[in-house]
Amino acid sequence: MERRGRFAEASDSSSSLEDLYAEMRGPMIRLAYLLTGNGAVAEDLVQDSFTRLYERWSDVQRPGAYLRTSVLNACRGYHRRRFRERSHFTDLVPDEVSTETPAVLDALARLPYRQRAALVLRFYEDRPERDIADALGCRPATVRSLVHRGLMTLRKAMEP
């Protein structure tokens, strides 16, 4: 049986947006931080996601799941923009990987976005495969392969 996620279900039983905000803002910022590597950007993206959720509050069935997907999409959008910026302004935008970051996080930052998101959701948030599949819009089998390929790349990157 699959383990339940660290933040499973609780977020979907929140009765109001205020409760959800109080409960989920921190965890979502930490998730976005792991996916973008930048705390300030993470806070901005999460704030935007809450604003979007507020506008659709009455239509959303599972606010917690909606919020997580929204944050993941926002992070993907951020990566896309950064990639485009970097391809044009290679000298102006420095790489944010610092020498003090553990090697495994450096390697994580270089993975394709979907692999990175799958690894973070699996090993940081402890989400079950089905939830990750929902959040990333793919099948559970794809999640398994994303996680496996991601781990293989990390292992290779950390070989001496």
């Binding site: 947006l17 930490r30 705390g39 506008e55 553990p102 495994v104 996080l105 090993f123």
Partner: protein
């Protein structure tokens, strides 16, 4: 091989947890997080709380005694009819929702919508913005751009009704109900409007959703 992957997984788990532990998250803007109270402050709070409780008990007893002498007809009734105010007293940014009429909606349709809003017990306060008031606000907003103001006809700006609900939970129901009335162009949440407008102008509004509660229910019980 599997063992290798397992050790990579463990390293990753540890690194992810450590990375988030080092992250410092700022307090959300607009949300008051109380400081940890000092001992003196706590003592003062306890004394104040006791005094407040005694006062409440005294007032309640006096109220009960007084109530025996008054008939139920004299008791104040909870407000049911919404109050209408001038558009200058209820700005678009303060409203919970805005009802936009069609630009060419006839007067009787506009009047019917106005009556429907006035007859809604969920509405605490509303303001009717006619063509003249809308044009005046538009002039003011673009006072530094007279060319733009001159190109717009007064009657091209739609009339609207700004609404503050008694409770936030009433807002979705009101939106659905008003949308079905004839002559309506759109009914929308005010904050959505300002977001959309700001986005068109190239600005980004950020405010935490937690502050929204204060704009309905609380001020207009």
């Amino acid at each position: 091989m599997t063992e290798d992957l397992h050790s990579t997984e463990l390293q990753l788990r540890r690194a992810l947890t450590e990375a988030t532990q080092q992250l410092r998250i700022s307090r959300p803007a607009g949300v008051a997080v109380p400081e940890r109270p000092t001992r003196r402050w706590r003592t003062r709070t306890v004394v104040t709380a006791i005094a407040a409780t005694l006062t409440v008990i005294a007032v309640a007893t006096a109220g009960l005694l007084a109530a025996r002498h008054t008939t139920s007809a004299h008791r104040p009734k909870p407000p049911t009819a919404p109050t209408e105010v001038a558009p200058t007293k209820l700005l678009q940014t303060e409203a919970n929702l805005v009802v936009y009429m069609n630009v060419d909606a006839p007067n009787d349709e506009t009047e019917a919508v106005r009556q429907a809003v006035r007859a809604s017990p969920e509405v605490a306060k509303f303001a009717f913005v006619d063509h003249t008031a809308a044009y005046r606000e538009f002039q003011k907003a673009f006072s530094n751009n007279p060319d733009l103001v001159n190109t717009v006809d007064r009657n091209a700006l739609p009339q609207s009704i700004r609404v503050i609900a008694r409770h936030c939970s009433d807002v979705p129901g009101l939106i659905v109900r008003f949308q079905q009335l004839p002559g309506i162009d759109d009914v929308t949440r005010a904050l959505g409007v300002s977001h959309a407008a700001a986005k068109k102008l190239g600005y980004k509004l950020t405010f935490p959703p937690v502050t929204i509660k204060g704009t309905c229910g609380q001020h207009y019980p």
